[in-house]
Symmetry: C2
Subunit: 332 residues, 2 copies
Amino acid sequence: MRIIVDAMGGDNAPLEILKGCALAVKEFSLEFVLTGNKEIIEKAISENQLDLGRYEIVHTEETISMDDEPTCVIKEKKESSLGKAFSLLKEGRGDAVVSAGSTGAVLVGATMIVGRIRGIKRPALATLLPGDTGPTMLMDCGANVECRSEMLMQFALMGSIYMNKIQSVENPRVMLANVGTEDTKGGPLQKESFELLKNSSLNFCGNIEGRDILSGIADVVVTDGFSGNLILKTCEGVAGMMYSNLKQVFKKNFISKIAAAMVMSGLKVFKKKMDYTEYGGAPLMGISKPVIKAHGSSNAVAFKNALRQAFEYHQNNVIAEIQDSLSAKKEG
Amino acid sequence: MRIIVDAMGGDNAPLEILKGCALAVKEFSLEFVLTGNKEIIEKAISENQLDLGRYEIVHTEETISMDDEPTCVIKEKKESSLGKAFSLLKEGRGDAVVSAGSTGAVLVGATMIVGRIRGIKRPALATLLPGDTGPTMLMDCGANVECRSEMLMQFALMGSIYMNKIQSVENPRVMLANVGTEDTKGGPLQKESFELLKNSSLNFCGNIEGRDILSGIADVVVTDGFSGNLILKTCEGVAGMMYSNLKQVFKKNFISKIAAAMVMSGLKVFKKKMDYTEYGGAPLMGISKPVIKAHGSSNAVAFKNALRQAFEYHQNNVIAEIQDSLSAKKEG
């Protein structure tokens, strides 16, 4: 499989991106098309003696920064590392795009250059949240600030396919994020979505409140992109604050430092379990080819996990599955 | 000050409620009107030798359960412990109501029986979230699933007054929960609210993402009740999951148990800082008299803190301040 990598996207590009590629080729059968500044990329590879296996570089001058308007990827910056990556994907020069760059530009570029799966109303950002009993997929995490119920219904379908094909969850439990568990909770969007989901062939298990999203009672949690983004980032914020406070507890004095050493292995397991970059990036589901948005602050390991995710998305024919479900539904 | 206490509301009623009252009278100059089953209340007080200071019991037969429709508080269960509490508040038999009962019923009862402050479009549930540099007020946390921008503007005003009067924050920083920090982020509600807030006399500091809500950059975060409720409960969920995982780390073996003992004092400070019941309950702001919703699972200390909050709300004339601001705005 051939992955097109936006080598210039993300806070730690290109070095951590390239290191991530080098880690990935050790585990999966991959080759890369790297988009970005050829000189900078080659220098980073040679200076760090990275072995990326088979790769080619497609030179681009420009990079999209966080301050750029997302639409620049199809306008003034369509020749940027990200814009070029999507053109190459559309042309079939690779099988997937992975980028740690601007979420907005990834969305616009994927939708406008690569295009949606026929029948899908809107693509959605899907994030795997860590849980005690395995990950839970939350979608949409910010692609669509405003949603209609048919969109949430499609998110549920796509999320179910992902969890089934890639996380090997038999009959994934779908739940609807809401302000209470009773069937009639929420506004019009929730009430309409509840009805659609209840009458679908999916394994719909009702409404779920914020406090239960990480509890493992759902495999897929669907919501609009506005609340989904706030949920996702609140998780990050709370976890980050708790870690930094915990660090202070352990760093306080000599005794506490010894205590830290005594439970270090346990703490590492704990930290790894809570670290959602372990699961990779966020697939942009509903696009006609695999597009994975890696976290902006991805380090090499996080980026490698996003590459693994692109690999699995491709190998497991997630997109064909979505297409089949949509046409089955139409015929059915 | 005389607080009307719904003695039967909450998972641990009446015992923890009554214990909370006994703790509160040691710290504040309070007397109570307890609504609920007289026999049960008296038995709990005498069996546990609780000293509640000056109190009277107003007997009610019924209790509102979590399965009841919220509107029952003004219909078939208006003579319940909660319904009676609101009638007594309206009649002036006390200065505030504190209940750990059903949030929905508290909302309906407070709005329909006690009534809103003149000029306030909708009351909002305001929760104090723990932060490294002090609490942040999040509102609305679930009273209004659907909001208009003028409502968010009023939430900002009420939250600012609360943080100024009760938390002694000079010129509270108000921020709008959103999917990005740029001025133009979000849907119509966010864009309209942004303009209103920007042109107000409040100290509006722009949009805030989920990950920064606990970071201390805002004193008041405003959002609609749907996303606010999800944010609040996600905080609870993540914190709860992290605690339980951390417990497992420390309970793993003999060595880890020793390590836990070595950092116990630090962990306790940490836990206390993250525990939002420390700040009390959620004031239902915009109601013409003080109404505090204590957490449903309140223990005695949490309920005492909710009583303290009612005390401070009353002593600091929060309601008069809101009224003054509204009329100043009208005149200005």
